[in-house]
Symmetry: C2
Subunit: 175 residues, 2 copies
DNA sequence: ACACCCTATGTGATTTTATAACGTCAGCAG
DNA sequence: CTGCTGACGTTATAAAATCACATAGGGTGT
C-alpha cells in the first residue's frame, strides 16, 4: 500500500510530466486541491487556524510531492510576499507537522505533504536517491523486530522514524 | 534482542554509575575495550586504517554509549591535542560510519558506536527523550509493511533508517 | 468604546550542523 | 628520487534551526 508520488520537477526529463503516485501515475492537480480542501475541513472541525502562510506552505508541499527543504520553502514564501526570515517557514512547517498535514524526512532534513491525512498514523517513507521522489507507506511500529525488542525491555515507543533509501522503479527502469 | 546502553553521564543522578546495556546493567569498561579490540582486528583484516583520530573518536563513542554530536566530539578531540576544526571530526565519523563501527542517529544529528560490529546489519534504535539513552536492536528492513510495500511497487531498498523515540524503562520507573 | 490577552507574524541576530577548498606530510610504488 | 595516494590540518563558508523581541489582529469581558 503506497500513497505517494513524485513530481515533474525531478531530475528526470522535463518532458516527463506525468505525475506519479506511489511511483505510479496519478492526477496531480486534483490531489493538490483535495489535499488543501481536506486540511481546511479538518482545521475547521478541530478549531485549528489554517492561516495564509500555513496554507501556502501546505500547497507548495502538495505541489511538489517531494521532500522540500525549509529554505526552499522560505524562498518561495518570499516570492509570494510573505516574511522572508527562517522562523516564518519553520513555524508554518511546525504547525503542519504537529497536526499531521506534513512530515519531516529526517534523513534529508526536509519536508513532504502527508499523503493520507486523516487518522493519526505512523508513516514510513521510501526515498529515491536518484530523483528524490518520496513515497509514503504505512508502517506498523508496534509490530516486527523493533516492537518486539521494545516490549522485551520495557521501552515505550511514542513515535517512529522509518525511512528507506534506495532506487525508485522509475529510476531502475532508466538505468 | 537489545544491544545497547546508557551512561553515567545521563541526566540521571551522577551517583547512578551502574552502566546499562539495552537498558540493563553491564560491564562498561570491558565493552569499551572489546569494542576497540574488535575494530582494530577488523581493520587489520580488511586493510582499513584505524588511525589515532579515528580510534580516539571510536573510543569516545564507546565510552558514552549515547548519541554524541560531531561538535561534542570535536571539543574532546581538541582537548586531546588533535585538530580542532569540524572536518577532523566529520572525517573520522565518516570513516567509522562507512565501515560499520558507528551509526548516525538521523533524528538527533548525532552518532553512536555500533553495539554489535561484525557482519553487516541494518540497525534500529530506541532513543529515550528523557535521558538520551540509545539502544540498538536489529531491524528486518526487507520484512514487514515497508518491505512489502517496496516489493509491491518495485522500489529497491539500499539502506533503512529505523528510529523509535520514547521513554526508556529506567525513566518510566523514575516517574 | 476600552483594556486585556492570546496567537500568529515579522525581523535581526545567533547557534548548530555540515561541507568546500586548499596546503602539507607520510608512506609507498616505480 | 619522483610522483602518487590517503590522511590530516586549517580557513572559510554553506545549510539548517533557534532565540529574542516587536507588532498586529481577533477575541473576551467590562
Amino acid at each position: 500500500m503506497i500513497y505517494n508520488n513524485m513530481t515533474s520537477e525531478t531530475p528526470s526529463t522535463p518532458a516527463d510530466n506525468a505525475d506519479l503516485i506511489g511511483f505510479a501515475k496519478h492526477d496531480h492537480a486534483s490531489c493538490v486541491e483535495t489535499g488543501l480542501a481536506t486540511a481546511q475541513a479538518r482545521c475547521e472541525a478541530e478549531g485549528l487556524r489554517l492561516t495564509p502562510v500555513r496554507r501556502k506552505v501546505l500547497e507548495m508541499l502538495l505541489q511538489e510531492h517531494r521532500a522540500l527543504g525549509a529554505y526552499a520553502i522560505l524562498d518561495r514564501l518570499r516570492d509570494e510576499g510573505f516574511g522572508s526570515q527562517p522562523p516564518v517557514a519553520y513555524r508554518a512547517l511546525d504547525f503542519l507537522v504537529e497536526n499531521g498535514f506534513a512530515h519531516k524526512i529526517e534523513r534529508l532534513n526536509a519536508f513532504v505533504a502527508c499523503a493520507h491525512p486523516g487518522g493519526s498514523h505512523s508513516p514510513a517513507f521510501m526515498i529515491c536517491r536518484k530523483c528524490d521522489a518520496v513515497a509514503e507507506a504505512y508502517s506498523a511500529p508496534a509490530k516486527g523486530a523493533l516492537g518486539a525488542a521494545a516490549r522485551a525491555v520495557g521501552f515505550e515507543i511514542e513515535r517512529t522514524v522509518v525511512e528507506a533509501e534506495g532506487i525508485c522503479p522509475d529510476c531502475i527502469e532508466k538505468r
